[in-house]
């Protein structure tokens, strides 16, 4: 979903908080309880939990603080769930697939204009952008289905390398690259030059 959580590249946030409170993981005991409950409470698998955080009201998301968000997400999941355990938040998401990866290291890929009203791990700032597969990262539970009770449907993931200019245009800093781990369904091969009009605007 195009939620407030999808923060990559958003502007206007100002300096990064520093100082003693910013250095610690917890600043109050209730935060420790919230962390512990989220880890062992089995209210959701990790993908459904992340999606619960994403579904919070955007203003609350930005003002409740990190552990305030987790608390609100746990409350939401508690209300939505019935009596039993709903999922394991700490199990290994590594899987194997008997089909070969569709992309190989060195391939030029374009990120699909993949949209969903649900959970996805595709950051909005790379949609439609071109990059190069740098690492084949193996197969994993697919968060987009797993967050919604639609099964693991494992997919290959790839670290894709994007040039700063491809992502940020004229505002990009010098000599910078961003690497994003993307699941196979988010990607397509770069179109062959000349076969698709209008696809050449963003890169050279």
């Amino acid at each position: 979903m195009d939620g407030i959580h999808d923060l990559g590249g958003r502007q206007g946030f100002g300096p990064i908080p520093r100082g003693a409170a910013a250095e610690s993981s917890f600043t109050a005991d209730w935060q420790r309880r919230v962390f512990g409950m989220s880890l062992i409470g089995r209210l959701a698998n990790i993908d459904a939990f992340r999606h619960a955080v994403e579904r919070l009201d955007p203003v609350l998301y930005l003002t409740a603080g990190y552990w305030g968000r987790w608390l609100a997400a746990l409350e939401l999941l508690e209300r939505e769930s019935d009596s039993g355990a709903q999922g394991d938040a700490t199990g290994s998401p590594v899987r194997t697939l008997d089909r070969p990866p569709r992309f190989r290291t060195g391939d030029c890929v374009r990120v699909r204009d993949h949209r969903t009203n649900g959970h996805t791990r595709l950051p909005g700032y790379v949609r439609g952008r071109r990059g190069v597969v740098l690492l084949e990262q193996g197969a994993w539970i697919y968060p987009d289905t797993h967050a919604h009770g639609e099964g693991e449907q494992p997919q290959y993931a790839y670290a894709v390398r994007f040039e700063g200019r491809e992502l940020w245009g004229q505002t990009a800093e010098a000599t910078s690259f961003v690497h994003v781990d993307l699941f196979e369904p988010y990607l397509e091969h770069c179109p062959t030059p000349g076969l698709e009009s209008g696809s050449e605007e963003r890169s050279e």
């Binding site: 999808d6 990064i16 209730w30 512990g36 305030g68 670290a159 505002t171 010098a174 690259f177």
Partner: protein, 195 residues
């Protein structure tokens, strides 16, 4: 507001306890594990070993997960750890723009600033400005590589070994390696190194 949150957390714990999903001792145990057994000292041990053992460094860069497990560090949020190396030509920086992904087995739980909207928004867009805020000045021709931990792969930065540290043993080196250097927002310096 923090009092309200504390009351709500207590109420939630009571509800989940009633449902048989948590109990106070189990929460204490898991929190204690994360606060006491995990942390950047683990990552610093990995880094110091890589600085002093070329064969280990090679294994670490080829398969971070396995080389890190050799030292006994593994577990949740460490299913696949990729180690990226800083050199005079390349500087790496790790972020999670969508939430707060972090390599728990080697760094523990992330500091609040790593999870702040400002860091998550800016690290991918203006990494040099972010680094400058943290006191890291890079020449324009140093390549900045940002790693957005958007799937379940986690990243650990192998900082450059500081000048003047040639005579230090592995424990002394380990003490130089900060959490921030392994996220990529700091470099490692050796105050007594004279360089």
């Amino acid at each position: 507001m923090s009092d309200d949150l504390a009351i709500r957390a207590e109420a939630l714990e009571a509800l989940l306890t009633e449902r048989g999903l948590v109990n106070a001792e189990a929460i204490d145990a898991v929190v204690s594990h994360f606060e006491n057994d995990l942390g950047p000292l683990n990552g610093a041990q990995v880094v110091a070993r890589a600085w002093t053992d070329p064969a280990y460094r090679k294994r670490l860069l080829a398969d971070g997960t396995r080389a890190i497990a050799e030292l006994g560090f593994e577990g949740p949020q460490g299913d696949k750890i990729v180690v990226v190396e800083n050199t005079p030509e390349v500087h790496n920086l790790v972020v999670c723009t969508l939430c707060s992904c972090y390599p728990w087995p080697v760094l523990g739980l992330p500091p609040a600033w790593y999870k702040s909207p400002a860091y998550r928004a800016r690290a991918v867009r203006e990494p040099r400005a972010v680094l400058q805020e943290f006191g890291v000045e890079l020449a324009d021709d140093v390549e900045v590589r940002v790693w957005d931990s958007s799937a379940e792969i986690r990243y650990l930065v192998l900082p450059a070994r500081p000048a003047g540290s040639e005579d230090l043993g592995i424990e002394a080196l380990r003490a130089l390696v900060s959490r921030d250097a392994m996220i990529g927002v700091a470099t490692v310096t050796h105050p007594g190194g004279g360089a």
